[in-house]
Symmetry: C2
Subunit: 158 residues, 2 copies
């Protein structure tokens, strides 16, 4: 398993292949990865950190791609619906998906020092939440699993 957010890696590849894969998937699904949507995805991919909608909007604004909140939120909604991005509930912020190839049961590890967010894939059926929900007769539709703490990089420095 890889933890891009916490490890040195060729980051150019993350952005390029992220966008390329998203483009392929959109073509397959007959959807449009419009200029704004693509740019928002790139912005999110540019760092393994969560960004607020208004931070993203600032970039869009500077580039003349839109200046009002709905512009950012609509693009984010699209990216999230297609699984290209995730919302981090704990931060009210957004990250690019770093496991586009895989199916979805992400766990997010959020470093409170460097703000990096690592997405780890997991089998949702194995999760404690699923087990407890099943026992309670609760039908899970959506799962939020986030941990806040210190990433290995920051732990070494501290």
């Amino acid at each position: 398993m890889s933890h891009y957010a916490f490890e040195a890696h060729d980051h150019e590849t993350c952005v390029e292949s992220g966008v390329a894969t998203a483009e392929e998937i959109c073509t397959e699904r007959g959807l449009q990865l419009t200029r704004t949507r693509k740019r928002v995805l790139e912005i999110l991919l540019s760092e393994h950190k969560a960004m607020g909608a208004y931070d993203i909007l600032d970039v869009l604004r500077a580039e003349g791609l839109g200046s009002q909140p709905p512009v950012a939120y609509r693009a984010l909604e699209f990216l999230i619906n297609q699984g290209f991005a995730h919302r981090i509930e704990r931060l009210n912020a957004f990250v690019a998906c770093s496991h586009l190839e895989a199916s979805h049961a992400p766990v997010f590890l959020i470093c409170r020092l460097c703000n990096s967010v690592s997405e780890v894939q997991s089998d949702s059926r194995k999760s404690e939440i699923s087990r407890l929900a099943k026992r309670a007769g609760f039908a899970v539709e959506l799962m939020v699993r986030e941990a806040e703490g210190i990433c290995p990089k920051c732990a070494r420095v501290a």
Copy 2:
């Protein structure tokens, strides 16, 4: 395991014993369960649902206990720090703790139809998040585990 939110139960007891236990704990810890804090706890205990800070504030306002947002947020902060209440990240809202006696590794089951929130206790060490974090060398300080879906009560009706 009990799922008060999803089952018939003597709800008076929830409120009374919740407040009583909180009072005991505050005494032990040398803290003040002031009028406002106590009232906010009662409000939260009055239903097994998450309430927004402004909903709580409305009640306080109607009772002359405070009219500005900080009043509600301060009380909530206290209750959360003491473990008497929890924040539901997914909803930006708050619930009373329903397992005051137990230690903390709650999972929340949120019904999107009736808005009830059930708190289930779990051993945090067993959790998938802990396992994945450990593997990544990530030191977890705080965990968010929430599931949204349909509760058994609503499933029967639908």
